[in-house]
């Protein structure tokens, strides 16, 4: 039940969506965040611009890049073979989202990114995957690395008349991935997430390494792991990565479920576990990966 009155439009193209946007409008994707907010009258837009007809829910592969429409839901990610093949990290992430099938069928990745909530699963995952957001605005389309999209809790670089139409990311077919999520129970928002991607060369040395934590700071926190490149992935290297995670921390995020000092304290173990999982995952074929679901606490 939404107490305030508003105009509702559902344009059929991204251009029409952009045309309908202004300072008093609100984009509606799956609505799992917007609708409750409007129900509590925390948000009172004059116009609601629904994305459902704008055709933004496709998933495709072009060359070595994966394209995801902004309106892809968690279920879309879970049922896409392209996602399983090229970004299994997304699949693992989506499988640990709460809210049951109702939420998984409804909530979109574009909505999660645009909402920019520090504790959400999607933002840090997309940053770890080095995804670009494709953003449509009055002047046309621009691409922004997701890492540069987030300004703070609930704040992005998106202008009021811009819409994310999709994401474009490199294939991680050859990488091992790890995803660790700390929560306060089944119903809790994530407290800290750690997404890791590792690729090894033929000699078992680290070729690429990406580690991004969510929930630790107001925006996804990237840990620079250049130091690990060219080295074999022993426990010592994981310890180094954990130490770098601690060093990367500057202003831990606090919310009602956990204070910053807790998030800071568990960032390193979460990071280390995600990397250990990624290490164990390297070279695992899709089939095997399918069979043995990585466990995310």
């Amino acid at each position: 039940m939404i107490p305030t009155r508003f105009e509702y439009v559902a344009p059929r193209t991204a251009a029409d969506v952009v045309a309908a946007l202004d300072g008093e409008s609100r984009l509606l994707a799956g609505g799992t965040w917007v609708v409750p907010e409007m129900g509590r009258a925390e948000s009172r837009p004059r116009r609601v611009v629904d994305l459902r007809r704008a055709g933004l829910a496709t998933i495709s592969v072009e060359g070595s890049r994966l394209r995801l429409g902004a309106m892809c839901t968690y279920s879309d990610l879970l049922s896409s073979e392209d996602v399983t093949r090229h970004a299994p990290l997304l699949r693992t992430m989506a499988s640990g989202v709460t809210g049951g099938s109702a939420l998984r069928n409804q909530a979109t990745i574009g909505g999660s990114v645009a909402a920019a909530r520090p504790q959400s699963d999607v933002p840090a995952t997309l940053v770890a995957l080095r995804a670009d957001a494709v953003v449509a605005g009055p002047a046309g389309s621009r691409r922004v690395p997701t890492a540069e999209l987030f300004l703070g809790a609930g704040r992005t670089t998106l202008a009021v008349d811009e819409v994310i139409t999709g994401f474009d990311l490199p294939s991680e077919r050859m990488s091992g991935h790890g995803y660790v999520k700390l929560k306060r129970g089944g119903s809790s928002w994530p407290i800290v997430t750690a997404a890791a991607l590792l690729r090894l060369d033929d000699d078992g040395r680290c070729e690429t390494a990406h580690l991004v934590l969510g929930g630790v700071e107001a925006v996804p926190m990237t840990v620079d792991l250049t130091i690990m490149l060219g080295r074999p992935l022993g426990d010592q290297e994981l310890d180094v990565a954990a130490a770098r995670t601690v060093a990367a921390l500057s202003a831990p995020w606090t919310d009602v479920l956990a204070p910053g000092d807790y998030r800071a304290a568990v960032a390193a173990p979460a990071a280390r576990r995600a990397l250990a999982m990624a290490r164990a995952n390297v070279g695992v074929t899709e089939g095997e990966r399918h069979g043995r679901r990585p466990d995310c606490p």
């Binding site: 107490p3 305030t4 009155r5 700390l182 306060r184 129970g185 009602v256 568990v266």
Partner: protein
């Protein structure tokens, strides 16, 4: 009144499914929110955004002009229509302070979320929208958010007329600790803090009130636990006669105490309906439903004990953070906590000084298990500390202190009189289910690998079916059993069911007494026009009181069926008749029989064939009043105000991830004794549900406020109820020591599980982190608290 024990019958004692379970499962059950009357309008509340403030002015003009708005009502506007809310248990009559509470705040708000005005509109959305347009000018006052600040010498006084921030205080037991401690081999002191939690039923408080101006009559559909008493207090405050009010409680989607009669929320819809002359629907918002509180105490203790771990004396200073004053029974949880402190352990000197402190938070509201949780946690914590101090095993310490089966009836220092039980046997069974020895070996082995398993015990003893002298909480209740000419049986009860299934249990009892099939019997509850006056469901009483009353009434009806059968079979008036499987037959000549249906029909249609002293109807109303209640205080001021004393021994097994503080619950075992079990499915369901609720309180359910007293846990993504994935299958053991003081021997089971689970989980986590030198003395056992404790230990 002796009714006599019975053994398992055709229905009783069997795992019968809920008689109305299909309706719940197929979404065909009618809740209050499902009922729509022609012309229904909707209410919404303007709530205080500050925890403490004077209301300088309320401007309603803008809201009055808004779309769909029928009325905007302030606290002042409502006063001519509703007097102050009658207290369930007025602290002012018991040596404490009286507080006047109206449905909407007048002049001053004392907690954030307090309702200060109401809007009635033609749609729920318009009502909420207009609430945003009500302008309130507040003058902020300093806020008190904890007991220490509220008791400080320079603290602002919340209710100036009291001149203090203590609603009520009292002593239970003799204050003679110092004397005993002087010669005691050991004395330990400590402090235990519990946190604020709440009841959190899925269905919030929901009402539909219909005022008929022509008849001057109110019909109220309410998601309530006590329809009759609700009618009584509504009539008093609204200055109506009770016969001008009809209260109906449709299906209730959980209550856990929150829907006990007499909260200010009970009055919103009825008063507004009378003011606007149209049916008014009001559904409490989720955030508001999470306001009332269940616990938050500081328990300081001193305990004296001998070398074997035998407790000699216990002294407790119990500070309750009540929040604002309220007309409900909430504060009494502090008193009941004091009454039950140490219960089940033979402690000769047990003294509790309780103080109920007011602060700027929403008030305590009676919640399962009504204050006994804090007392349980305290004693079980003490048992562990005594075990650690003496080097005696924690189970053995409990065994040494338990009241022995040979000691019943046993009068506790608080006056409560334990009737039966075998606490040590419950402990033995729990340890056996656990494979305790082997588990301890596993624990030692895993510790060597850096994994921290913890095992914790928790003994709970729940006084149930309370009686408040002079109050509308009674140990007795009334049921009517009625058989129709076609042999259908209706049971009308003064008790109700919040979804627990006590009504199914009552069906089983009555079916067996009348020797008829279960589906012949239906139960009518929660209707003040049709059911006998009763006290609804509280204090785990519905089956014990309403069930026993129904048994008595069913026996009357069965006697009538026997008389009719004898008449139809031309048998002598003293010929014994056995009723079974719907057939009444002569015991001495079973070939001579009539069906119960024939006999029932004959009562109505061939009354002149019956003996003249047999009245030709098939209906009886009986009250069951337990004999063990003593309302008159003894020389020490002690009463015996509870009917039954069920108990359980719990064990929790946890693993603590010491890098993150995350706890994994590996196992939970509970051996429970509620005397005679009428329906094992319902009993297992109650115990399991209680355990899960207790584990939620132990680990994750917490009401959190910001520094200004604004609640931050406003929904189920932040007020964290346990989910199926969080809790292992609860492993249950059963004992049966029938309650000697009650017919049937059944003991209450509606509050079972919570307190013992909370205590066992608490002890388990402490056991897990003890080797690291860490200790937790407060709830919740959140990963945050565990990490802090570990960090402190490392210092």
């Amino acid at each position: 009144m002796e009714v006599g024990l019975r053994t398992a019958g055709k229905s009783v004692g069997r795992p019968v499914r809920k008689h109305d379970g299909d309706a719940y499962l197929t979404a065909n059950a009618t809740y209050t929110g499902d009922i729509v009357l022609p012309g229904t309008v909707y209410a919404a509340l303007v709530r205080a955004p500050l925890a403490h403030a004077l209301i300088r002015s309320v401007s309603t003009a803008a809201a009055e002009g808004a779309t769909g708005v029928i009325a905007v009502v302030t606290g002042e506007d409502m006063i001519p229509w509703c007097d102050e809310i009658p207290h369930g248990l007025d602290a002012g009559h018991l040596g404490g302070h009286h507080s006047a509470v109206f449905p909407l705040a007048v002049e001053k708000v004392v907690y954030a979320g307090e309702p200060i005005a109401a809007v009635v509109a033609t749609s729920e959305a318009d009502a909420h929208a207009a609430c945003l347009m009500v302008e309130v000018d507040y003058e902020p006052l300093p806020v008190l958010l904890d007991v220490e600040s509220a008791l400080a010498a320079d603290a602002p006084i919340l209710y100036p007329a009291w001149a203090e921030n203590v609603l009520i205080e009292g002593h239970v037991g003799n204050d003679d600790f110092a004397e005993v401690a002087r010669t005691a081999p050991h004395v330990l002191e400590g402090e235990l803090r519990t946190h604020r939690g709440t009841a959190a039923p899925m269905e919030p408080r929901t009402y539909l009130a219909d005022w008929d101006a022509g008849r001057q009559h109110l019909t109220l559909y309410a998601s309530t636990q006590n329809p009759h008493v609700l009618r009584t207090v509504l009539a008093a405050a609204m200055r109506l006669r009770e016969d001008q009010i009809h209260v109906v409680a449709p299906k209730v989607g959980g209550s856990f105490g929150l829907k006990m009669y007499g909260s200010r929320e009970d009055f919103i819809a009825p008063v507004l309906a009378r003011m606007v002359g149209r049916p008014v629907s009001w559904v409490e918002e989720r955030a508001a439903s999470l306001l009332p509180a269940a616990r938050e105490q500081v328990l300081s203790y001193r305990v004296a004990f001998d070398d074997d771990g035998g407790l000699l004396a216990l002294d407790v200073e119990a500070l309750t953070d009540h929040g604002a004053a309220a007309p409900t029974h909430g504060w009494a949880m502090a008193y009941v906590g004091a009454l039950s402190t140490g219960l089940g352990y033979a402690i000769e000197h047990c003294h509790v000084h309780y103080r109920v402190v007011v602060t700027n938070k929403a008030p305590w509201s009676g919640t399962k298990p009504f204050g006994k949780d804090g007392a349980t946690l305290l004693l079980e914590r003490i048992m562990e500390r005594v075990a650690a101090a003496t080097g005696v095993d924690a189970g053995t310490v409990r065994r040494r202190n338990f009241v022995a089966p040979s000691a019943f009836p046993y009068r506790h220092t608080s006056g409560l009189e334990l009737d039966s039980g075998d606490y040590a046997a419950a402990l033995d069974q729990t340890l056996e289910i656990l494979s305790h020895e082997r588990l301890r070996a596993d624990q030692a082995r895993l510790r060597a690998q850096g994994r921290y398993l913890g095992i914790g015990l928790g003994f709970e003893l729940m006084p149930e079916s309370a009686d408040i002298p002079g109050g509308f909480v009674a140990a007795y209740d009334t049921s009517t059993v009625r058989m129709s000419p076609s042999g259908r049986v209706s049971v009308l009860t003064g008790v109700t069911s919040p979804g627990t299934g006590s009504d199914t249990g009552i069906c089983q009892l009555v079916a067996d007494e009348l020797g008829v099939a279960l589906d012949t019997v239906s139960v009518v509850q929660g209707d003040t026009d049709t059911c006998p006056y009763g006290f609804g469901n509280i204090s785990s009483r519905s089956l014990v009181t309403g069930g026993n009353a129904a048994v008595l009434a069913a026996r009357d009806v069965a006697d009538k069926i026997r008389a009719a059968a004898r008449a139809l079979l031309r048998a002598d008036y003293d010929e014994p008749v056995l009723i079974e499987d719907g057939i009444a037959r002569l015991t001495r000549d079973p070939s001579r029989s009539v069906s119960v249906v024939e006999a029932a029909r004959a009562v109505y249609t061939r009354s002149y064939e019956l003996e003249l002293d047999v009245e030709p109807h098939l209906e009886s109303t009986r009250t069951y009043r337990p004999s063990n209640i003593r309302e008159v205080p003894d020389a020490l001021g002690r009463m015996q105000t509870y009917t039954t004393y069920p108990y359980a021994v719990h064990a929790s097994v946890v693993e603590v991830d010491v890098e993150t503080g995350v706890v994994t619950l590996l196992r939970h075992v509970a051996t429970h004794d509620c005397g005679t079990v009428v329906n094992p499915l319902m009993v297992d369901g109650q115990v399991t549900g209680g355990v899960v609720m207790g584990l939620g309180a132990a680990f994750s359910e917490e009401l959190v406020f910001d520094d200004d007293g604004i609640p931050l846990t406003t929904g189920f993504k932040t007020y964290l109820l346990p989910r199926a994935v969080d809790v292992p299958r609860v492993e249950l053991g059963h004992l049966c020591t029938p309650a000697p003081g009650t017919p049937l021997g059944a003991k209450g089971v509606g509050e079972a599980g919570f307190a013992g689970a909370l205590a066992a989980a608490f002890n388990a986590v402490n056991d897990a982190v003890a080797p690291l030198g860490a200790r937790l003395d407060r709830t919740p056992l959140s990963p945050i608290a565990i990490m802090r404790a570990l960090r402190e230990a490392r210092r």
